[in-house]
Amino acid sequence: MSETSHTFKPKQKRSRYISAIKRLQRYPTTLIGFTIVFLFLIIALFGPLLAPYAYTAQNLPNKLQPPSEEHIFGTDQFGRDVYSRILVGSRDVLSVAGSGTALAVFFGLLLGLFSGYRGGLFDELIMRAMDVILSIPPLLLAMVILFSLGPSRVNVIIIVGFLYIPMVARVVRSVVLDLKTRQFIEAARLRGENSFYILYKEILPNVLPHLAVEASMRFSYSIFLVASLGFLGLGVQPPSPDWGLMVGEGRTWFHQSRWVLFFPAGAIALLVVGVGFMSDGLRRILLPGGVSDA
């Protein structure tokens, strides 16, 4: 549907955003969250440029060194610079977890919208299928599928997307169920709007804030899952500097050098906390009246 279908554009949108940002200032954690996520995005974009060494550059005589001026996070078992590897590795984490989340959000939104709006048997079938997926521990399911498909970046993305579709679909569906009974939807039916308009123009804009909050939460879970799979060796394969993978490899050398383990694990924790704070902040900004307020 083209943009011109709106006869009246809201003029005040900007002031709405400004007041949202003002509200933000009252919650320092939110600001911290956004800053962390923003920093990691910058690192992911410019990682190789910022890194002092190539992430594959080996220097065997210099292996398992503690942090020093030359290698601020130390070196790993092949003498590679951990700092550079973490910088470059942020790409893997963010892109894999991000794409997985995007996949989950897209299909979850579609399923949730139609399931909630159509109702009846269709809704029942979809939701029971979602329950089936939810009833299996995610890591176990991911491992089983990856064992059979073989570990690869694309497969991890598909798995993450698949596993998180039910969560997103459930949230979207519950919001739609609530909105469906609102009187502005009934007014739309009374003037003979078709289902497409009602879903796309009346319901969807009211679902988006909830979706944004849910997506950011899913994102933090995806980071976990991607890191866990990497740790188990089922994710991105060496010599990629995936954080999970680095923790997994570093485990072997833990007694000789803690640094190989500490820094990638810290990076994961920091990112997850940052995304968590951000998602909390999004909820405060987008859904000020609480979760039930659509």
Binding site: T7, A187, R189, E193
Partner: protein, 689 residues
């Protein structure tokens, strides 16, 4: 001389907000004597609840008392510590809130909750407290206290719960009882019973009561003195007779003019709405705070604010022009030129024998074979609406009036019956109705907050039906929307606003504009004004009348508010438990002989005129469940004029009184006439002459 229980002097309450310190209540003094019910009236946002909370020092975190003195008897409340204050709350001062469901703990038995108060504050033993609880429940006229005491909140109706709250509040025999809109959430018939109870109990116990409400009718019925609060200041104070009869403030006069009277309707008068809004506490005008909305305001009013002045014994006003007001006499409402009596026009809508049963699912119903349980929400209702006429439907909550409207609109598919619009039979579901039929019938919903999409500018809401249902071309739509906004008295630039930037009344105006956009022949209004303030209600009712006159639209107006229905309707139908009981022209329905149910509704209606003594006909119990409807006449379980076995066994017949008035009752019309005599409204007219 009754002793003074509460003496609050020059209270100023301040809130810390993002915009700095705001004085929400300014310089208010209140005195309440024992045995007196003091009514505090005001519209929403006038500071009623804030004032009440300040009096008992129960303000939220960000609020504090900037100035003032509060004495409860001889105790200076402001000198008490937190711990001492806690002994005052619940013992010497108690409170009854608006929403009984929120005030009662759902997981503790009713009796225990009453007993708990007696144990904590009266230091009674367990057994004594138990007896005290039963005693209190009996006092609030609960029929079976032993049984009710062992029930939980969800097993009792709203009216019963409110009685329990009164019992809890009265258990410690407090000196001061604060009631914050205790009957607002209840039906009229239940409200009347509770009001009777409050009146009797307080007089018996000599308690001082601060009664907060927005309903002038309720004040006139139970209170002895009244204070009118506006934007945090008292405008007028006096006895009921003084304030209602010799009104000395234009705001009070305005409020009284906003309430429709039961004895006149839109043909005789238009309501006098107060223009403008209550000023926000950060944007107070410099002079008299009511001046910007006052039609009597002169230059001096805009400059200087006068303190309350005692004009008559105990009668105070803040208006400098009160002398003139006195001379003015009663200008409660504009008389309007008598509307030309339209001939009974052609039929617009005919809904015949509409039935809507909702199946009861869930629980164990799936295991019960052949026992189809159903809620009979609408059970055989027939209604006709004629061109440019208003058909009013009244009934208590849960009587099926809204379901009926939704069946007609097609939002709910009827199970049986025929819906004919201008001679064409309509499909049950809105999805199967052709565009042209959709255009002819539109709806205004009850809740203005839910009826507009929060993400769309309000102009869009009005433009959509134009685009879909009318032949207006694209370029002209903007113009049409502007015209429609002008027609509902909204400024043009509101078109671009989002719903959250509008007040409740403004949102409802947009909803009305949206419904009128495609020029419908029939408009269904489902309680369109019930959630709004009286002054806003009045202006919306006027708007509806004006639009009907200029466009010739027919209305189906649904409400539980008898006076609003009486004001707007040409025809009235009374609904109870999914069925019609009386139908007739507006003049006839409210004049005897009427159906016993109509009679009870009328006698329960709070009328803002202390001179009218209504006969107290009160209904027993609550509305039976629509799942098992009583046999015979559905009303027999509560009917004050029940004849006997015949009412329980046989369905009553329809009887005609005159050509345009019918009712459904076993009692012959002549007997009803003899029983009801002159009726309420006749008496009222007599009182005026």
């Amino acid at each position: 001389m009754p002793k003074k229980v509460l003496d609050a002097r020059n209270l100023t309450v301040t809130y810390k907000t993002e915009k700095g310190l705001l004085d929400t209540v300014r310089n208010v003094s209140l005195q309440i004597c024992s045995g007196e019910i003091y009514g505090l009236v005001g519209e929403s946002g006038s500071g009623k609840s804030t004032l009440a909370r300040a009096i008992v020092r129960y303000l939220p975190e960000n609020g504090f008392l900037k100035e003032g003195k509060i004495y409860l008897g001889d105790t200076d409340l402001l000198n008490l510590s937190k711990a001492e204050m806690r002994r005052v709350w619940g013992k010497r001062v108690t409170m009854v809130h608006q929403d009984p469901n929120a005030a009662i703990n759902p997981s503790v038995m009713i009796g225990e909750q009453v007993a708990e108060v007696a144990r904590t504050h009266l230091k009674l033993s367990k057994k004594e407290a138990r007896n005290k609880a039963l005693d209190m429940l009996t006092k609030v006229r609960i029929a079976d206290p032993e049984v009710v005491a062992r029930r939980y909140a969800h097993q009792l109706s709203g009216g019963m719960l409110q009685r329990v709250l009164v019992a809890i509040a009265m258990a410690t025999n407090p000196e001061l009882l604060i009631m914050d809109e205790p009957t607002t959430a209840l039906d009229v018939t239940t409200e009347a019973v509770i009001l009777d109870l409050i009146g009797d109990l307080m007089r018996e116990n000599d308690t001082a009561v601060l009664y907060i409400t927005h309903n002038l009718g309720v004040v006139a019925r139970v209170c002895s003195r009244v204070g009118v609060l506006y934007a945090g200041e008292i405008m007028e104070e006096g006895s009921i007779g003084q304030v209602f009869k010799d009104t000395l403030h234009p705001y009070t006069r305005g409020l009284l003019g906003c309430v429709p009277r039961v004895n006149v309707n839109k043909k005789d008068i238009s309501l006098k709405a107060i223009p403008g809004f209550i000023p926000r506490p950060d944007q107070l005008p410099p002079g008299c705070i009511f001046a910007p909305r006052c039609e009597l305001a002169e230059e001096a009013c805009r400059v200087e604010r006068l303190p309350l002045k005692e004009i008559d014994y105990g009668h105070l006003t803040a208006c400098r022009r009160n002398e003139e007001l006195k001379r003015y006499g009663e200008v409660v409402a504009d008389m309007r030129e008598a509307r030309s009596e339209t001939e009974y026009g052609e039929l617009v809508l005919e809904a015949r024998n509409i039935k809507k049963y909702f199946p009861v699912v869930g629980g164990l119903s799936m295991f019960e074979k052949n026992r189809k349980r159903e809620v009979k929400a609408v059970d055989d209702i027939t209604i006709r609406v004629r061109r440019s006429f208003t058909m009013g439907i009244v009934g208590e909550s849960g009587c099926g009036k809204t379901t009926f409207a939704r069946c007609i609109m097609g939002l709910e598919e009827a199970n049986a019956g025929e819906i004919e619009l201008e001679g064409e039979l309509l499909p049950y579901s809105v999805a199967r109705r052709p565009r042209d039929m959709l255009r002819k019938m539109q709806m205004v919903f009850q809740n203005p907050d839910a009826s507009l999409n929060p993400q769309h500018p309000v102009g869009e809401a009005v433009a959509r039906p134009l685009k879909l249902l009318s032949s207006v071309n694209k370029e002209a739509i903007q113009e049409r929307v502007k015209e429609l906004f002008a027609a509902v008295n909204l400024p043009e630039d509101y078109i671009y606003r989002l719903p959250h930037e509008l007040s409740g009344g403004e949102k409802q105006r947009v909803a009305i504009a949206r419904a009128f956009a495609a020029n419908p022949t029939l408009m269904i209004c489902d309680e369109p004004i019930s959630s709004l303030d009286v002054s806003v209600q009045a202006s919306l009712m006027n708007l509806l009348v004006d639009l009907q006159e200029s466009k010739g639209t027919s209305y189906l107006f649904i409400s539980h508010d008898l006076s609003a229905v009486r004001h707007l309707s040409d025809w009235i139908a009374v609904v109870y438990l999914g069925r019609l009981w009386e139908i007739g022209s507006a003049e006839d329905v409210f004049v005897p002989p009427y159906h016993p149910y109509t009679e009870a509704l009328l006698s329960a209606l709070p009328i803002p005129d202390p001179d009218i003594k209504q006969e107290s006909i009160r209904l027993k119990g609550s509305v039976p469940s629509a799942m098992n409807i009583p046999s015979g006449c559905r009303f027999h379980t509560r009917c004050p004029r029940k004849l006997g076995a015949i009412c329980e066994k046989e369905e009553p017949p329809w009887q005609c009184i005159g050509y345009y008035h019918q009712l459904c009752c076993h009692i012959p019309v002549e007997d009803l006439q003899a029983l009801q005599g002159e009726g309420l409204l006749k008496k009222e007219r007599g009182a005026e002459q």
